[in-house]
Symmetry: C2
Subunit: 186 residues, 2 copies
Protein backbone atom coordinates (compact mmCIF):
# COMPACT_ATOMS: atom_id res chain seq x y z
CA UNK A 1 0.00 0.00 0.00
CA UNK A 2 1.09 3.55 -0.69
CA UNK A 3 3.21 4.94 2.09
CA UNK A 4 2.26 8.53 1.45
CA UNK A 5 -0.61 10.27 3.18
CA UNK A 6 -3.50 10.29 0.74
CA UNK A 7 -6.32 12.83 0.59
CA UNK A 8 -8.97 12.07 3.18
CA UNK A 9 -12.04 10.13 2.19
CA UNK A 10 -15.22 12.22 2.19
CA UNK A 11 -17.29 11.80 5.32
CA UNK A 12 -19.95 9.78 3.54
CA UNK A 13 -17.39 7.21 2.43
CA UNK A 14 -15.79 6.60 5.79
CA UNK A 15 -16.68 3.00 6.51
CA UNK A 16 -14.87 2.61 9.80
CA UNK A 17 -16.80 0.36 12.17
CA UNK A 18 -15.39 1.75 15.37
CA UNK A 19 -17.76 2.52 18.19
CA UNK A 20 -16.56 5.97 19.13
CA UNK A 21 -18.98 8.84 19.28
CA UNK A 22 -18.79 11.12 16.26
CA UNK A 23 -16.38 13.96 16.98
CA UNK A 24 -13.82 14.14 19.77
CA UNK A 25 -14.83 15.84 23.02
CA UNK A 26 -12.63 17.44 25.67
CA UNK A 27 -12.21 15.34 28.75
CA UNK A 28 -13.60 12.18 27.21
CA UNK A 29 -11.90 8.92 28.10
CA UNK A 30 -11.63 6.31 25.39
CA UNK A 31 -11.80 3.00 27.23
CA UNK A 32 -9.04 0.42 27.28
CA UNK A 33 -9.46 -2.36 24.72
CA UNK A 34 -7.55 -5.40 23.59
CA UNK A 35 -6.18 -5.06 20.10
CA UNK A 36 -5.69 -8.52 18.66
CA UNK A 37 -7.29 -11.21 20.78
CA UNK A 38 -5.40 -14.51 20.78
CA UNK A 39 -7.64 -17.40 21.80
CA UNK A 40 -6.51 -20.62 23.41
CA UNK A 41 -4.53 -23.01 21.21
CA UNK A 42 -5.20 -26.73 21.73
CA UNK A 43 -2.17 -28.74 20.67
CA UNK A 44 -3.08 -32.07 19.06
CA UNK A 45 -3.33 -35.34 20.96
CA UNK A 46 -1.32 -38.43 20.05
CA UNK A 47 -4.13 -39.49 17.71
CA UNK A 48 -2.68 -37.40 14.91
CA UNK A 49 0.74 -39.06 14.79
CA UNK A 50 -0.86 -42.45 15.43
CA UNK A 51 -2.97 -41.99 12.29
CA UNK A 52 -0.36 -40.39 10.02
CA UNK A 53 2.93 -41.52 11.42
CA UNK A 54 5.99 -39.29 11.27
CA UNK A 55 6.23 -39.89 7.54
CA UNK A 56 2.64 -38.84 6.87
CA UNK A 57 3.07 -35.74 8.98
CA UNK A 58 6.22 -34.74 7.11
CA UNK A 59 4.41 -35.29 3.82
CA UNK A 60 1.55 -33.06 4.97
CA UNK A 61 3.99 -30.28 5.89
CA UNK A 62 5.84 -30.72 2.58
CA UNK A 63 2.64 -30.59 0.56
CA UNK A 64 1.40 -27.49 2.42
CA UNK A 65 4.67 -25.73 1.75
CA UNK A 66 4.76 -26.75 -1.92
CA UNK A 67 1.41 -24.98 -2.25
CA UNK A 68 2.61 -21.98 -0.23
CA UNK A 69 5.68 -21.56 -2.42
CA UNK A 70 3.48 -20.96 -5.48
CA UNK A 71 0.97 -18.81 -3.65
CA UNK A 72 0.39 -15.09 -3.12
CA UNK A 73 2.61 -15.33 -0.03
CA UNK A 74 5.42 -17.27 -1.71
CA UNK A 75 7.68 -14.22 -1.37
CA UNK A 76 7.74 -14.67 2.41
CA UNK A 77 9.67 -17.91 2.02
CA UNK A 78 13.27 -18.60 1.06
CA UNK A 79 13.58 -18.38 -2.70
CA UNK A 80 16.61 -20.63 -2.85
CA UNK A 81 15.54 -24.27 -3.23
CA UNK A 82 18.00 -25.66 -0.69
CA UNK A 83 17.09 -23.06 1.94
CA UNK A 84 13.40 -23.69 1.30
CA UNK A 85 13.91 -27.43 1.80
CA UNK A 86 15.74 -26.70 5.06
CA UNK A 87 12.83 -24.56 6.23
CA UNK A 88 10.31 -27.28 5.41
CA UNK A 89 12.38 -29.81 7.36
CA UNK A 90 12.49 -27.49 10.38
CA UNK A 91 8.75 -26.98 10.26
CA UNK A 92 8.22 -30.73 9.96
CA UNK A 93 10.54 -31.28 12.95
CA UNK A 94 8.37 -28.91 14.95
CA UNK A 95 5.11 -30.52 13.88
CA UNK A 96 6.37 -34.04 14.59
CA UNK A 97 7.57 -33.06 18.05
CA UNK A 98 4.37 -31.11 18.79
CA UNK A 99 2.35 -34.19 17.87
CA UNK A 100 4.33 -36.31 20.30
CA UNK A 101 6.85 -37.73 17.90
CA UNK A 102 10.61 -37.72 18.19
CA UNK A 103 11.98 -34.58 19.86
CA UNK A 104 14.00 -33.30 16.93
CA UNK A 105 13.04 -29.64 16.91
CA UNK A 106 13.89 -28.42 20.39
CA UNK A 107 17.39 -29.94 20.65
CA UNK A 108 18.39 -28.58 17.23
CA UNK A 109 16.62 -25.23 17.16
CA UNK A 110 15.81 -24.28 20.72
CA UNK A 111 12.66 -23.53 22.60
CA UNK A 112 9.87 -22.81 20.20
CA UNK A 113 8.54 -19.34 19.98
CA UNK A 114 6.71 -19.24 16.73
CA UNK A 115 5.46 -15.68 16.98
CA UNK A 116 8.96 -14.38 17.59
CA UNK A 117 10.38 -16.47 14.76
CA UNK A 118 7.79 -14.99 12.40
CA UNK A 119 8.44 -11.33 13.27
CA UNK A 120 10.93 -10.80 10.40
CA UNK A 121 8.14 -11.60 7.91
CA UNK A 122 5.25 -9.22 7.40
CA UNK A 123 2.17 -11.33 8.07
CA UNK A 124 -1.25 -9.72 7.88
CA UNK A 125 -4.78 -11.12 8.08
CA UNK A 126 -4.86 -11.88 4.35
CA UNK A 127 -1.59 -13.81 4.52
CA UNK A 128 -3.05 -15.96 7.30
CA UNK A 129 -6.10 -16.63 5.15
CA UNK A 130 -3.92 -17.84 2.28
CA UNK A 131 -1.88 -20.02 4.64
CA UNK A 132 -5.00 -21.63 6.11
CA UNK A 133 -6.71 -22.11 2.75
CA UNK A 134 -3.68 -24.02 1.51
CA UNK A 135 -3.44 -26.00 4.74
CA UNK A 136 -7.05 -27.06 4.19
CA UNK A 137 -6.10 -28.20 0.71
CA UNK A 138 -3.05 -30.11 1.94
CA UNK A 139 -5.13 -31.77 4.66
CA UNK A 140 -7.76 -32.79 2.12
CA UNK A 141 -4.99 -34.44 0.09
CA UNK A 142 -3.57 -36.44 2.97
CA UNK A 143 -4.87 -39.90 3.86
CA UNK A 144 -6.14 -39.12 7.35
CA UNK A 145 -9.58 -39.73 8.84
CA UNK A 146 -11.81 -36.65 9.22
CA UNK A 147 -11.47 -36.72 13.03
CA UNK A 148 -7.70 -36.45 12.74
CA UNK A 149 -7.89 -33.67 10.15
CA UNK A 150 -10.33 -31.87 12.43
CA UNK A 151 -7.92 -32.11 15.36
CA UNK A 152 -5.03 -30.78 13.27
CA UNK A 153 -7.18 -27.92 11.99
CA UNK A 154 -8.40 -27.06 15.50
CA UNK A 155 -4.74 -26.65 16.47
CA UNK A 156 -3.47 -24.70 13.47
CA UNK A 157 -6.43 -22.39 12.92
CA UNK A 158 -6.10 -20.53 16.25
CA UNK A 159 -2.33 -21.03 16.29
CA UNK A 160 -2.06 -19.16 13.00
CA UNK A 161 -3.66 -16.08 14.59
CA UNK A 162 -0.51 -15.72 16.67
CA UNK A 163 1.65 -15.21 13.59
CA UNK A 164 -0.20 -12.06 12.50
CA UNK A 165 2.14 -9.12 13.09
CA UNK A 166 0.73 -6.59 10.63
CA UNK A 167 -2.83 -5.47 11.22
CA UNK A 168 -4.83 -3.91 8.42
CA UNK A 169 -8.26 -3.76 10.06
CA UNK A 170 -9.69 -3.08 13.50
CA UNK A 171 -11.94 -6.13 13.32
CA UNK A 172 -10.76 -9.34 14.93
CA UNK A 173 -9.44 -11.72 12.27
CA UNK A 174 -11.91 -14.20 10.81
CA UNK A 175 -12.29 -17.61 12.42
CA UNK A 176 -12.91 -20.76 10.41
CA UNK A 177 -14.12 -23.79 12.29
CA UNK A 178 -13.65 -27.22 10.77
CA UNK A 179 -17.35 -27.86 10.22
CA UNK A 180 -17.77 -24.52 8.48
CA UNK A 181 -14.78 -25.17 6.21
CA UNK A 182 -15.99 -28.69 5.42
CA UNK A 183 -19.43 -27.36 4.47
CA UNK A 184 -17.92 -24.65 2.28
CA UNK A 185 -15.55 -27.02 0.50
CA UNK A 186 -17.94 -29.95 0.24
CA UNK B 1 14.31 -6.93 7.66
CA UNK B 2 15.17 -9.82 5.40
CA UNK B 3 12.08 -11.54 4.14
CA UNK B 4 13.76 -14.89 3.68
CA UNK B 5 13.81 -17.59 6.33
CA UNK B 6 17.23 -17.45 7.91
CA UNK B 7 19.07 -20.34 9.56
CA UNK B 8 17.79 -20.97 13.06
CA UNK B 9 19.62 -19.52 16.02
CA UNK B 10 21.36 -22.11 18.17
CA UNK B 11 19.39 -23.01 21.28
CA UNK B 12 21.74 -21.14 23.58
CA UNK B 13 21.16 -17.90 21.69
CA UNK B 14 17.38 -17.98 21.70
CA UNK B 15 16.46 -14.96 23.74
CA UNK B 16 12.71 -15.17 23.48
CA UNK B 17 11.06 -14.14 26.72
CA UNK B 18 7.88 -16.11 26.24
CA UNK B 19 6.62 -18.14 29.14
CA UNK B 20 5.91 -21.41 27.39
CA UNK B 21 7.42 -24.64 28.68
CA UNK B 22 10.38 -25.81 26.66
CA UNK B 23 9.19 -28.17 23.96
CA UNK B 24 5.66 -28.71 22.72
CA UNK B 25 3.58 -31.49 24.28
CA UNK B 26 0.62 -33.35 22.84
CA UNK B 27 -2.68 -32.22 24.27
CA UNK B 28 -1.33 -29.08 25.91
CA UNK B 29 -3.50 -25.99 25.73
CA UNK B 30 -1.75 -22.68 25.27
CA UNK B 31 -3.95 -20.19 27.12
CA UNK B 32 -5.69 -17.26 25.49
CA UNK B 33 -3.82 -13.97 25.75
CA UNK B 34 -4.27 -10.41 24.58
CA UNK B 35 -1.75 -9.39 21.97
CA UNK B 36 -1.35 -5.63 22.06
CA UNK B 37 -3.02 -4.08 25.08
CA UNK B 38 -4.51 -0.64 24.42
CA UNK B 39 -4.95 1.30 27.65
CA UNK B 40 -7.51 4.03 28.25
CA UNK B 41 -6.92 7.31 26.41
CA UNK B 42 -7.80 10.49 28.32
CA UNK B 43 -8.60 13.28 25.89
CA UNK B 44 -7.44 16.70 27.09
CA UNK B 45 -9.62 19.11 29.02
CA UNK B 46 -10.32 22.67 27.87
CA UNK B 47 -7.24 23.83 29.79
CA UNK B 48 -5.00 23.01 26.82
CA UNK B 49 -6.74 25.26 24.29
CA UNK B 50 -7.24 27.92 26.97
CA UNK B 51 -3.48 28.04 27.50
CA UNK B 52 -2.33 27.73 23.87
CA UNK B 53 -5.23 29.02 21.86
CA UNK B 54 -5.99 27.58 18.46
CA UNK B 55 -2.94 29.31 17.04
CA UNK B 56 -0.57 27.84 19.62
CA UNK B 57 -2.02 24.37 19.06
CA UNK B 58 -1.57 24.66 15.30
CA UNK B 59 2.00 25.81 15.84
CA UNK B 60 2.68 22.82 18.08
CA UNK B 61 1.36 20.42 15.44
CA UNK B 62 3.36 22.17 12.72
CA UNK B 63 6.56 22.07 14.75
CA UNK B 64 6.07 18.38 15.57
CA UNK B 65 5.56 17.59 11.91
CA UNK B 66 8.54 19.67 10.80
CA UNK B 67 10.66 17.46 13.07
CA UNK B 68 8.93 14.28 11.84
CA UNK B 69 9.60 15.15 8.21
CA UNK B 70 13.35 15.10 8.82
CA UNK B 71 13.26 12.03 11.05
CA UNK B 72 13.77 8.30 10.64
CA UNK B 73 10.03 8.01 9.91
CA UNK B 74 9.92 10.89 7.40
CA UNK B 75 9.22 8.39 4.63
CA UNK B 76 5.77 7.66 6.12
CA UNK B 77 4.64 11.17 5.27
CA UNK B 78 3.75 12.82 1.96
CA UNK B 79 6.97 13.81 0.23
CA UNK B 80 5.33 16.55 -1.79
CA UNK B 81 5.45 19.86 0.12
CA UNK B 82 1.87 20.85 -0.69
CA UNK B 83 0.46 17.46 0.30
CA UNK B 84 2.51 17.52 3.48
CA UNK B 85 1.13 20.95 4.36
CA UNK B 86 -2.39 19.63 3.74
CA UNK B 87 -1.74 16.71 6.08
CA UNK B 88 -0.43 19.01 8.81
CA UNK B 89 -3.53 21.17 8.48
CA UNK B 90 -5.78 18.11 8.81
CA UNK B 91 -3.93 16.95 11.90
CA UNK B 92 -4.16 20.44 13.39
CA UNK B 93 -7.91 20.49 12.63
CA UNK B 94 -8.26 17.24 14.56
CA UNK B 95 -6.19 18.43 17.51
CA UNK B 96 -8.06 21.75 17.75
CA UNK B 97 -11.41 19.99 17.68
CA UNK B 98 -10.29 17.34 20.18
CA UNK B 99 -9.19 20.10 22.55
CA UNK B 100 -12.61 21.73 22.37
CA UNK B 101 -11.90 24.27 19.69
CA UNK B 102 -13.81 24.90 16.48
CA UNK B 103 -15.26 21.73 14.97
CA UNK B 104 -13.32 21.80 11.71
CA UNK B 105 -12.16 18.23 11.43
CA UNK B 106 -15.33 16.19 11.61
CA UNK B 107 -17.42 18.19 9.12
CA UNK B 108 -14.60 18.16 6.55
CA UNK B 109 -13.11 14.73 7.05
CA UNK B 110 -15.69 12.59 8.79
CA UNK B 111 -15.80 10.70 12.03
CA UNK B 112 -12.31 10.27 13.37
CA UNK B 113 -10.88 6.81 13.39
CA UNK B 114 -7.19 7.36 13.74
CA UNK B 115 -6.18 3.72 13.85
CA UNK B 116 -8.00 3.01 10.61
CA UNK B 117 -6.54 6.09 8.94
CA UNK B 118 -3.05 4.92 9.87
CA UNK B 119 -3.40 1.36 8.52
CA UNK B 120 -1.87 2.21 5.12
CA UNK B 121 1.38 3.19 6.87
CA UNK B 122 3.58 0.56 8.50
CA UNK B 123 3.93 1.73 12.09
CA UNK B 124 5.91 -0.38 14.53
CA UNK B 125 7.01 0.20 18.12
CA UNK B 126 10.18 2.00 17.03
CA UNK B 127 8.20 4.39 14.82
CA UNK B 128 5.99 5.27 17.79
CA UNK B 129 9.09 5.95 19.88
CA UNK B 130 10.42 8.39 17.25
CA UNK B 131 7.01 10.09 17.01
CA UNK B 132 6.79 10.54 20.78
CA UNK B 133 10.40 11.68 21.18
CA UNK B 134 9.78 14.43 18.63
CA UNK B 135 6.45 15.35 20.22
CA UNK B 136 8.31 15.79 23.51
CA UNK B 137 10.74 18.11 21.73
CA UNK B 138 7.93 20.10 20.09
CA UNK B 139 6.15 20.41 23.45
CA UNK B 140 9.33 21.61 25.11
CA UNK B 141 9.59 24.33 22.43
CA UNK B 142 6.03 25.57 22.87
CA UNK B 143 5.16 28.27 25.40
CA UNK B 144 2.80 26.24 27.55
CA UNK B 145 2.90 25.68 31.31
CA UNK B 146 4.13 22.27 32.47
CA UNK B 147 0.66 21.23 33.62
CA UNK B 148 -0.71 21.80 30.11
CA UNK B 149 2.18 19.96 28.47
CA UNK B 150 1.58 17.11 30.92
CA UNK B 151 -2.07 16.92 29.96
CA UNK B 152 -1.26 16.90 26.25
CA UNK B 153 1.36 14.19 26.79
CA UNK B 154 -1.01 12.08 28.91
CA UNK B 155 -3.38 12.12 25.93
CA UNK B 156 -0.92 11.47 23.11
CA UNK B 157 1.33 8.88 24.80
CA UNK B 158 -1.40 6.23 25.19
CA UNK B 159 -3.21 7.39 22.04
CA UNK B 160 -0.06 6.71 20.00
CA UNK B 161 -0.15 3.04 21.07
CA UNK B 162 -3.29 2.68 18.97
CA UNK B 163 -1.44 3.56 15.79
CA UNK B 164 0.94 0.59 16.04
CA UNK B 165 -0.03 -1.87 13.32
CA UNK B 166 3.24 -3.76 12.86
CA UNK B 167 4.50 -5.66 15.86
CA UNK B 168 8.14 -6.65 16.11
CA UNK B 169 8.25 -7.96 19.66
CA UNK B 170 5.99 -9.91 22.00
CA UNK B 171 6.54 -7.46 24.83
CA UNK B 172 3.99 -4.72 25.37
CA UNK B 173 5.27 -1.44 23.94
CA UNK B 174 7.16 0.82 26.33
CA UNK B 175 5.24 3.44 28.29
CA UNK B 176 6.67 6.87 29.04
CA UNK B 177 4.96 8.89 31.73
CA UNK B 178 5.41 12.66 31.80
CA UNK B 179 7.40 12.68 35.04
CA UNK B 180 9.77 10.02 33.74
CA UNK B 181 10.32 11.91 30.46
CA UNK B 182 10.86 15.21 32.31
CA UNK B 183 13.47 13.57 34.54
CA UNK B 184 15.22 12.00 31.59
CA UNK B 185 15.31 15.21 29.56
CA UNK B 186 16.04 17.57 32.48
Amino acid sequence: MCQHASPPTPAAEHHCACQQQAGPHPGKRVPAAPELILPEVPFPSLRVIEALGEHGLRQLVAQHHALLRQSAIGHLFAQDAAQFAQLVERVADFVVEACGGAAQYTPAHGHTCMRTRHFPFTIDEAAREVWLTLLWQALADCAAPAAVREEYWAWMEPFSLRMINRRTTKAQPARWGYAEMAARHA
